[in-house]
């Protein structure tokens, strides 16, 4: 499958394997350009290799996640593109 540009919301499945909170409505601040927005509103690139979430403002990488299914399941999660996450319960 070729890598395709989708909404951050499309990364919700693999991220919900890791996080117990709703990550698509969490606000992420981008370390590259300083803008912040909900993760679901960013851009997701999903391929067989893994998932990359990029900033919708500057295209900088926010999140990279790779899952290894063979053997004991493992995740590699790179969040260094995020300055902070603001996580909020639904009202």
């Amino acid at each position: 499958m070729d890598e395709q540009r989708l909404d951050g919301n499309a990364a919700a499945g693999v991220l919900a394997e890791i996080f117990t909170f709703e990550i698509t409505t969490a606000r992420a601040a981008c370390v590259h350009c300083g803008s912040s927005g909900e993760v679901g509103a960013q851009l997701a690139y999903i391929s067989e290799i893994g998932t990359v979430v990029r900033c919708a403002s500057c295209d900088g990488v926010l999140i990279r996640v790779v899952r290894q299914d063979e053997g004991p399941q493992r995740y590699w999660l790179d969040l260094k593109g995020i300055e902070y996450l603001q996580i909020q319960e639904r009202p």
Binding site: Q4, R5, T25, D69
Partner: protein, 267 residues
């Protein structure tokens, strides 16, 4: 690819389901049972699923469906939930893509009584609750109607009178998914307007639009930006990007435009 599901109800499985006692629950795979499979249009079917351990969903959310071949090869796809949260069953709208790995199995092979491995609900960002109010601007292309249909159905089930305009782009009249239900809903409800556009062929005497969604069409159809509609756009990537860009160009607040791109592949 010949794909079969080999699923054992109650069995734990590798992805996301492993959970140590005392840890919060993360997203887990579970088995739904196909209650019915009903054609909507020549290329789409609605799968109605009973999911015993379903925790409820919000209108607009999706599920991941996973098929496992006999050799262990797995293919995962996301499908939006078309049913309202108030409905007891989960309805998934599946469009058959001839070269797809998953959709031919779901539309041609899957029968009532079969199990289907899925997980969800997923994606709280592209979701609408009736208590958020409106106005609601819904823009759909093809099978992108699914999550927006969940919103329209939820609005009715919740007794909401939020004004809604649904602009729905299909290739032809025969390919308008949920056509009769949408016509019936719009006929009984003054606050719900359904506007159609047919991009390839239109029947004689067609009163609706007959071109792709563009800024001029949105200027006519969308609520004025001053009314601050909440917009949900779902469909193929070009339609979604054209529509979202046009809405911003018309002065709508980007923070109130939510998009769900299907992407060029999938299936």
């Amino acid at each position: 690819m010949a794909t079969t599901t080999t699923v054992t109800p109650g069995a734990s499985n590798a992805t996301g389901a492993t959970r140590m006692a005392g840890t919060p629950r993360r997203l887990a795979w579970q088995i739904g049972e196909v209650a019915e499979s009903i054609p909507d249009t020549p290329r789409t079917k609605s799968l109605f699923l009973e999911v015993p351990d379903w925790n409820g969903h919000r209108a607009g959310q999706h599920v991941d469906v996973r098929l496992t071949a006999e050799d262990g090869y797995q293919a995962e796809r996301s499908y939006s939930i078309a049913s309202a949260p108030e409905s007891g069953r989960i309805e998934l709208l599946v469009e058959r893509l001839d070269d797809g790995e998953v959709s031919p199995y779901l539309t041609e092979e899957l029968r009532a009584g079969d199990g289907l491995e899925l997980r969800g609900p997923i994606g709280g960002w592209f979701a609408w609750d009736a208590n958020e109010g409106g106005p609601l601007l819904l823009l759909a292309g093809g099978s992108g109607i699914a999550p927006l249909m969940a919103m329209v159905r939820h609005r009715k089930a919740a007794g909401s009178d939020a004004p809604v305009r649904l602009l729905y782009s299909s290739r032809s009249y025969e390919e308008v998914i949920f056509r009769e239900e949408l016509e019936a809903l719009a006929a009984e409800d003054e606050a719900l307007e359904v506007i159609q556009t047919l991009t390839r062929s239109a029947p004689e005497g067609w009163q609706g639009y007959d071109r792709r969604i563009d800024q001029a069409m949105l200027k006519d159809v969308a609520f004025p930006p001053q009314e601050r509609p909440l917009a949900f756009v779902c469909g193929p990537t070009p339609l979604v990007e054209t529509a979202a860009t046009a809405l911003v160009g018309l002065g709508h607040d980007p923070a109130r435009i939510k998009t769900e791109r299907f992407g060029p592949t999938g299936g």
